[in-house]
């Protein structure tokens, strides 16, 4: 072709091929989208499901959670408890980081010091640990301050970084969030994991490719035919769904539940499973007079009969059916079936508005009362709609809830300052263990120890506190589970708060995509297979 004016076009075409075609033509590519992006490629920067889940495909932990969230070996192949405070971990041999460094115990020790450095947001996972030391290149000794039954759970979202890489690139510490900083690890990644970072444009596009040498392919932990991952955040839900329907992405979440029917009708796949998150309503049981109620001089919510009346006035089945379109399961407690402490015998208090009225009358409020009700409107699935429905149900028994639904930053700020009487909160224990829910939501609030930090209603039952305290140091699995169950049952009987439902994790994909969905809402690419 010697047409002169076409020449620039040819240059552009070549440029397009160079920028677009890093992987061969028959490579299997998974293009997927989410509402937002991972905040950082540094897995210690922000303790949040999406960021941890994303980096978990690039990095590995000492232990890993399977499709059912059970903990199994990863970079550690086995572990033994030498004495109640000493654990010995044997490391996997022959594992290499993406840039070629060999993985040894020195990297574990390095990662530990990095994880407890000033800028780290995952420090809370290490509060029970006294020290982590290398015994030899493939043995690590972890000493705990007191016997820690959930040590493995604490370690299950802790990804290993290379010491050599960290030192070479000035990333030995986490970029300090206090000063809003960045360092090499914010935009680069060098893990031992299933996928390697190829390019990263925060909030725009991230490209990764398969790590053919990953231990998980060999051990059978992961199996995927995907060679390349292209991730794009798409903020607007309509655009996101359109991208799937038009075939520009293969998989996405989060999905508005009202769009599920349309996606299915267009031949898409919908994956649904109960999440580890419990959505519940807390109630102020501490103040002698509520801050925003018509009842003066006393606090009606201190009376168990009133709390029970509120509980029994909520038709949770209707909420699940009408508002959640079936994409939720009524909650019987504050933990889900994956967690220690869950008991299949837990039951909800049955929906019975007539009994509620009687209970209110007995408590001295035959005509009900007025009370404030705080909700987020952009945090949980259909959160504001749920609160509106609850307020309407309470109105039937005479309780006028003044609903204040607002954006999450404002909502969590307000309830965090305890300026609330009744509030909505959702909780998914980071350790996937009942202990975490009890420690954060239900035990007596104690600013010194940090226990009960999210117990914004300040419910307090010393007997339950004692059970939880005992469970904290109990290494016997059976005994510990019993203690947690007993404590949760006590909270239920006391109506410490009103659990509503377990939200569902909903993902959608093109019908060419096969994947494994985990209840903690982490998307593991190493279980994706595409036709």
């Amino acid at each position: 072709m010697n047409v002169k004016w076409l020449r620039p076009l040819q240059v552009w075409a070549v440029a397009a091929m160079v920028t677009g075609g890093a992987v061969s033509a028959d490579a299997v590519t998974l293009r997927w989208a989410n509402t937002g992006d991972a905040v950082s490629m540094d897995p210690y920067y922000f303790n949040e499901t999406f960021t941890l889940g994303f980096t978990g495909n690039i990095y590995d932990g000492l232990v890993a959670r399977g499709k059912d969230l059970k903990i199994g070996p990863a970079l550690a192949v086995s572990w033994t408890i030498l004495d109640p405070n000493t654990w010995e971990f044997k490391l996997r041999k022959g594992v290499k980081f993406h840039e070629g460094q060999e993985f040894t115990s020195a990297d574990v020790v390095f990662s530990y010091h990095r994880a407890i450095s000033a800028g780290s947001d995952i420090k809370a996972n290490f509060v029970s640990i006294a020290s982590i030391e290398a015994k030899d290149p493939y043995t690590v000794i972890i000493k705990t301050k007191q016997p820690d039954p959930i040590l493995l759970a604490d370690l299950s979202f802790w990804w290993m970084l290379s010491r050599e890489w960290g030192e070479k690139n000035g990333a030995t510490e986490v970029a300090d969030i206090h000063h809003a900083g960045v360092n090499y690890a914010t935009t680069h990644a060098n893990g031992t994991g299933a996928y390697m970072l190829v390019s990263r444009e925060a909030d725009v596009k991230t490209v990764l490719k398969k790590n053919p040498d990953w231990w998980g392919w060999k051990s059978g932990f992961g199996n995927s035919n995907v060679d390349q991952i292209v991730f794009t955040p798409i903020k607007e839900s309509g655009t996101r769904v359109a991208a799937l329907l038009s075939g520009s992405v293969d998989m996405l979440y989060e999905v508005p539940i009202q769009d599920l029917g349309r996606i299915k009708a267009a031949g898409g796949k919908v994956f649904q499973t109960a999440e580890t998150r419990t959505v519940f309503l807390g109630m102020d049981q501490f103040r002698d007079e509520l801050i925003d109620s018509s009842v003066k001089g006393k606090n009606p919510l201190k009376d168990r009969r009133v709390r029970l009346a509120l509980y029994k006035a909520i038709d949770e089945d209707l909420i699940v059916k009408q508002i959640m379109k079936g994409a939720a399961v009524p909650a019987t407690s504050f933990v889900t079936k994956e967690m220690a402490g869950y008991d299949p015998n837990f039951k909800r208090f049955a929906y019975a508005p007539d009994e509620s009225k009687k209970l209110l009358a007995e408590a001295g409020y035959p005509d009900g009362f007025e009370v404030g009700f705080d909700c987020p409107n952009d945090r949980y699935v259909n959160d504001a709609e749920i609160c509106q429905a609850v307020a309407a149900m309470w109105a039937k028994i005479g309780v006028k809830a003044k609903l204040n639904a607002q954006t999450k930053s404002l909502h969590f700020g307000k309830i965090g300052r305890l300026e609330t009487s009744i509030f909505m909160l959702g909780w998914a224990p980071g350790t996937i263990d009942g202990q975490n829910a009890l420690d954060n939501l239900l035990v007596t609030r104690n600013d010194a120890t940090g226990y009960g930090r999210f117990n914004y209603g300040r419910y307090s039952n010393p007997k339950m506190d004692a059970l939880v305290a005992e469970a904290r140091g109990e290494l016997g699995v059976g005994k510990r589970t019993k203690l947690l169950q007993e404590a949760l049952d006590m909270a239920h009987t006391d109506v410490a708060a009103i659990p509503l439902h377990y939200q569902q994790v909903i993902w959608t994909a093109a019908n060419t995509v096969d994947l494994a969905q985990r209840a903690d809402n982490m998307f593991c690419w190493y279980w994706v297979n595409m036709k």
Partner: protein
Amino acid sequence: MLSYVVERLFQSVLVLLVITGVGFVLFRYVGDPVLNMVGQDTTEKEIEQIRQELGLNDPIVVQYARYLGRAVRGQFGKSFRHGRPVLDLFAERLPATIELSGVSTLLSLFLAIPMGVFTGIRPHHPLSQFFLSFSLIGVSLPTFLIGILLILVFSVLLPWLPSFGRGTVTALGGWTTGLLTLDGWRHIVLPAITLGLFQLTLIMRLVRSEMMEVLRTDYIKFARARGIRPASVYFGHALRNTMIPVVTITGLQLGGILAFAIITETVFQWPGMGLLFLQALSVADLPVMSGYLLVVGVIFVTINFTVDLLYLAIDPRLREGIRGH
């Protein structure tokens, strides 16, 4: 003359101060940024420490004064979320916004002027009626809906064009462009139409009314009487006289398009300034939000200032008046 310029300049600075001041106060009501920066297991003590170090506990006036003090030295702080200087983020996102605004402006001009001329010359032609009713859609439908409709029709029902993003982008020094590849052009079509539709309507109607006005004037009648070809009369004489208001309006609109690309960028996940602002808003990233407001303020103030100066150059009466002071 000089005093006039100085006065306008002073007013511009005042406007900027008011914009940023009001924004600064309003932004306090979008929530606590620190809660969006740490996970649920971070201790209360640590959160308080971060708040303290970021200066969020200081009175609002102190925070504003500090912000202004840094801003005049060209420091706009670092994004709470990305940890990077706000100016770097803007520099990365600005090309996308400028490109989108530019293409949509050109697109609307190229379509609107011929449409306006046609409807002006042949007001009763069925095609004119169609253009006019079509343009009603442009002014009456919200941008958001237009974008979603275009995606539905041209991405989902007819899978011709991509629904999100910028496509293949080429880096040229500090600038990135999607206009060098076919893929990039395919990506810009729908957002450019969405953003430009309002402007298209406006310019088309402007050209139409100006045309009708001009065609009634004597010199056009004389030109016709002399037997000059109609095409030459319409485009050589009439259209040229309609261009002055068109250029003015287009210039003024450009600022608006640059600033209010927020919605279009969100609908099409276009990685520009508007999307950055919206993403910042949802996590209360104060430095980015304040910086964005300042940038938009500067754009508007600059355009208005330029227009003021242009009037001065164009209108001799204004100059006379000033000399008389």
